[in-house]
């Protein structure tokens, strides 16, 4: 996985000139419930060899046409259902007291395209995992328009989900990659983690690239869908992610039961580290040693972004995040007050980032801001290192796409990126110092 992330930069064939078109990403706020009352026709409906099931990239077409092949060969979404029946899936089911993961709503909701039977077309297969319509929406309303060769805007108007828009994509991806805290069948609780579910890191831009993406941002893409700016995708992803996390803290279903809060909202490595490894206790959270810390890596990234684009919001974000961490030692009610404030700030920042035209100077400022986190002398936690690296990868990708880097610079920076990924390859053996060293190396290779 990490190796895949590390090679993301090579995979990107973006050759975007400096476009300064403002993306129209108006209120795509509810990914899973919005506009998809259509019947899901199934992957087979898309996989024809003259549609999206070509063996190779099609030269004359506006899209690559080999999307199905990419998805079915290399994309984990394709295996999402199958893994439910594998050893780990069976173990998790057993630990949760479920007869079978492949029949349990709490698993199927994100490991398949879980539309009710009435919304499944004759060729629909649950076992296709997270198929085309899991992200692009049920095709019954738009397939006709789409096949007729209509413009992208016509497809959208007919109900195709606008995955090219960062905020909409963030909503869609995070509807599983964090889930919906209000829906018991769509939220990975700590109970499920304890039963064996793997940890779920996420960063929108990186995860788009490593899926791997089955689109190429080229001239024809840009003509039809507008430009894609990796930094914007990253920034919007952070804001939406943080908003969803705060939403989970505010969700009554996730309130503490008994002595403990819902632990999945906390920083995994805050507890899950061997205690015989002495680790530094950064004071960025303001919490005393031995405290359990809420996951805050998104907030830290968003703070770096806001510090450049909306300094007043950045200041408010940082003081409310500090208050939120402190509140965990006070009461749940205080936690909720602060979570509400942080969510408000995240939702204010989201449209600002969606419409901002990110410049070279912005990118440089973000990179400097992220690097500064590691050089401030305080220990960088694993979750921070992970988000910082993915953030830098998005920035690198954007700068590279702008065409301003020489081949030598790209080679040096790719090597430095790989060093960063390598420095946190395992949360068990992660140490602050190698990460900071890799960070300094990245700074050295970055153009000034």
């Amino acid at each position: 996985m990490l190796a895949a992330i590390a090679t993301r930069t090579r995979r990107r064939a973006c050759a975007i000139a400096a476009f300064s078109l403002i993306l129209a990403t108006a209120g795509q706020t509810c990914a899973q419930s919005q506009g998809d009352d259509a019947v899901h026709l199934g992957v087979v409906s898309c996989a024809g060899n003259n549609c999206h099931g070509a063996k190779e990239r099609s030269e004359g077409s506006s899209v690559a046409q080999n999307e199905y092949l990419i998805w079915s060969k290399s994309d984990k979404h394709h295996r999402a259902y199958t893994v439910l029946l594998e050893e780990r899936g069976m173990r998790i089911a057993r630990n949760l007291g479920l007869p079978n993961a492949a029949t349990a709503d709490m698993c199927l909701a994100c490991h398949t395209d879980p539309v009710p039977p009435a919304k499944r077309g004759p060729r629909f297969q649950l076992s296709d995992g997270v198929g085309c319509e899991g992200c692009h929406g049920g095709a019954s309303s738009w397939l006709g328009t789409h096949i007729s060769g209509a413009r992208h805007s016509d497809n959208l108007a007919a109900g195709l989900y606008p995955t090219e828009r960062p905020a909409a994509r963030a909503e869609k991806c995070l509807s599983c990659h964090i889930g919906d805290a209000a829906d018991d069948n769509r939220f990975v609780t700590h109970r499920m983690m304890g039963a064996g579910h793997p940890r779920m890191p996420f960063e929108l831009d990186t995860y788009t690239a490593v899926e791997p993406a089955h689109f190429v941002v080229d001239q024809r893409y840009i003509e039809r869908k507008g430009p894609v700016d990796d930094v914007q995708v990253w920034a919007v992803g952070q804001a939406v992610d943080l908003g969803k996390r705060m939403g989970a803290l505010l969700e009554p279903k996730r309130a503490p039961k008994g002595v403990f809060p819902e632990l999945v909202l906390f920083d995994c490595q805050s507890c899950h580290h061997p205690y015989n490894s002495l680790r530094g206790e950064g004071i960025t959270t303001g919490l005393a040693p031995g405290s359990v810390k809420l996951y805050d890596a998104n907030a830290i990234m968003l703070h770096v972004i806001a510090a450049r684009l909306a300094p007043a919001a950045a200041k408010a974000l940082s003081s409310h995040m500090l208050a939120l961490q402190r509140a965990s030692g006070e009461s749940w009610a205080t936690v909720q007050v602060e979570a509400h404030e942080v969510r408000r700030l995240a939702s204010e920042l989201s449209p600002i980032l969606s419409s901002h035209d990110f410049t070279r100077d912005d990118m440089k400022a973000f990179a400097d801001g992220i690097i500064a986190l590691g050089l401030a002398g305080e220990d960088v936690r694993y979750s921070e290192a992970e988000q910082a690296t993915m953030g830098l990868a998005s920035i690198f990708s954007a700068v590279k796409s702008s065409g301003s880097l020489s081949e030598d610079q790209i080679t040096a920076m790719t090597k430095a990126m790989n060093g960063l990924y390598g420095s946190f390859a395992s949360d068990e053996t992660y140490r602050h110092e190698p990460f900071v060293k890799a960070l300094k190396e990245f700074r050295r290779t970055a153009p000034r």
Partner: protein, 455 residues
């Protein structure tokens, strides 16, 4: 070091005739009580070469006389009594780091560190030769010598020493109270209790089992005929059993202590099982435990002492065992309800543990008891009821104590002893490192031990 504890115990403790004398163990509720007001004269008052500072064990004396040397020797790092270094470590890298993380200027001047890393009696009670830097010296355990040193020097006999104020460390209950006063701490005293704050700042985890830790200290006494004549017999199984009961009582005290009630959504985590959280996220090892009934992903109260005590009670007091196990189950469940319920069930568990403390401290553990307890401890692991790291650790130390008692009582032939030592070595290896601990390896070692129990 820990990996060698049980083996060492078997080697070190000489075999004595097993005397089935009932031990009279009065309740020492306060390990400091016999010492109140007495001046501490300092290690130098004990370490004369014709007192306890001999270079070699004395042949004709009632005690070895080289106790000071055993406590203070630095020759063999594996055999050093850590009590001697307790003060010095406060200035080591780790001590400095912990102090820094806690915002303390210095660990060697902080009450919270000194109370257990030294014999921290008030200034007024320190004699002219007393040195705080001696760490946990003679009088920290044996009591301030001011009132009894004269009697002691006169050779008046052990009983006269006790009457004068010497602390009765030979009595399992008194020893448990004394050791646990630091090895668990006093939850009502914020300067005498290692909270999760202190753990988070870098303090190491504190494993403890009375009998094993007595042997591993290393003990500066030998239970021979002269010892038994003066102080009565020692039964390792009883020391273990009493230690478990009192450990559980202290643990429930901590749960009942208002200072340890949850703050916000942060409970006092030091009362929970360390490995319940502190394992790598990639290391998935949850399995259902019928003695906790908890769901996956739950934090679990530390209960290895309760599990061991239940094994002991199953043999010596089956009704009490049932009560204990019901309330422990309810206590685990209570953590998913609310803190009031935790407090209510902790009260019940405490009551059961108190009753069992009385029973086990006066019980005459027979050879058959010892064998049954060995089988009971093994069964816990083999029925998958507790193969958590903490459970495996306590089971291993328990089997070390049991093996030691079997050997001392002549229950084992020398051939059987060797097989059992090998099996203990395997068990110790399986728990040597919590980060890499694998329940399967522990269970295999447990099966080897099972085979070593004479039928």
């Amino acid at each position: 070091m820990k990996g060698e504890v049980s083996v060492v115990k078997l080697h070190e403790i000489a075999i004595a005739t097993f005397v089935t004398l009932m031990l009279t163990v009065a309740a020492w509720a306060d390990p400091q009580a016999p010492d109140s007001g007495s001046k501490h004269l300092g290690v130098k008052s004990c370490s004369g070469d014709n007192c306890h500072g001999a270079v070699k064990p004395a042949e004709h004396s009632a005690v070895m006389q080289n106790e000071y040397l055993i406590w203070s020797q630095e020759v063999d790092n594996d055999r050093v009594d850590k009590h001697h270094r307790a003060y010095a470590v406060l200035s080591d890298e780790r001590g400095i780091r912990i102090a820094h993380n806690l915002g303390l200027p210095d660990a060697v001047t902080a009450e919270i560190c000194l109370n257990c890393h030294a014999d921290n009696v008030p200034e007024a009670r320190r004699g002219p030769r007393f040195e705080i830097s001696d760490g946990v010296g003679c009088e920290a355990c044996h009591g301030g010598a001011e009132k009894w040193l004269g009697v002691h020097l006169s050779g008046a006999g052990h009983k006269a020493n006790l009457d004068a104020g010497l602390y009765p460390t030979e009595k399992p209950v008194a020893r448990a109270e004394k050791c646990l006063f630091c090895h668990f701490g006093d939850p009502s005293d914020k300067s005498r209790f290692v909270t999760h704050l202190i753990m988070g700042a870098g303090h190491p985890r504190m494993g403890f089992e009375l009998d094993t830790y007595t042997a591993a200290e290393p003990a500066h006494f030998t239970v021979g005929p002269k010892y038994i004549e003066r102080k009565g017999p020692i039964n390792d199984v009883q020391v273990w059993a009493v230690g478990q009961a009192i450990s559980l009582i202290r643990r429930t005290d901590a749960l009942l202590e208002p200072k340890n009630a949850p703050k916000g959504i942060q409970p006092e985590l030091v009362l929970f099982d360390c490995q319940s959280c502190h394992h790598a996220v990639s290391q998935i090892r949850w399995q259902p435990r019928k003695s906790t009934g908890l769901a996956p992903g739950s934090l679990q109260l530390y209960d290895a002492d309760a599990v061991m005590l239940r094994v002991i009670a199953d043999r010596v007091a089956p009704t009490a065992a049932k009560v204990l196990s019901e309330h422990m189950l309810a206590l685990h469940h209570a953590t998913t309800v609310n803190w009031d319920t935790v407090v209510r069930e902790a009260t019940e568990v405490r009551r059961a543990a108190m009753e069992l403390e009385n029973l086990v401290s006066s019980h005459d553990f027979t050879g058959d008891d010892t064998k049954a307890l060995a089988e009971g401890v093994v069964a816990i692991g083999l029925t998958d009821d507790d193969t958590d790291y903490s459970g495996a650790e306590q089971a291993t130390m328990a089997l070390g104590s049991i093996a030691s008692a079997m050997r001392m009582s002549g229950y084992l032939t020398s051939g059987q002893t060797k097989v059992m030592i090998d099996a203990l070595t395997g068990l110790n290896k399986s728990i040597a490192d919590d980060a890499t601990y694998q329940p399967g390896i522990f269970v295999t070692a447990l099966k080897d031990f099972q085979k070593a129990i004479p039928q």
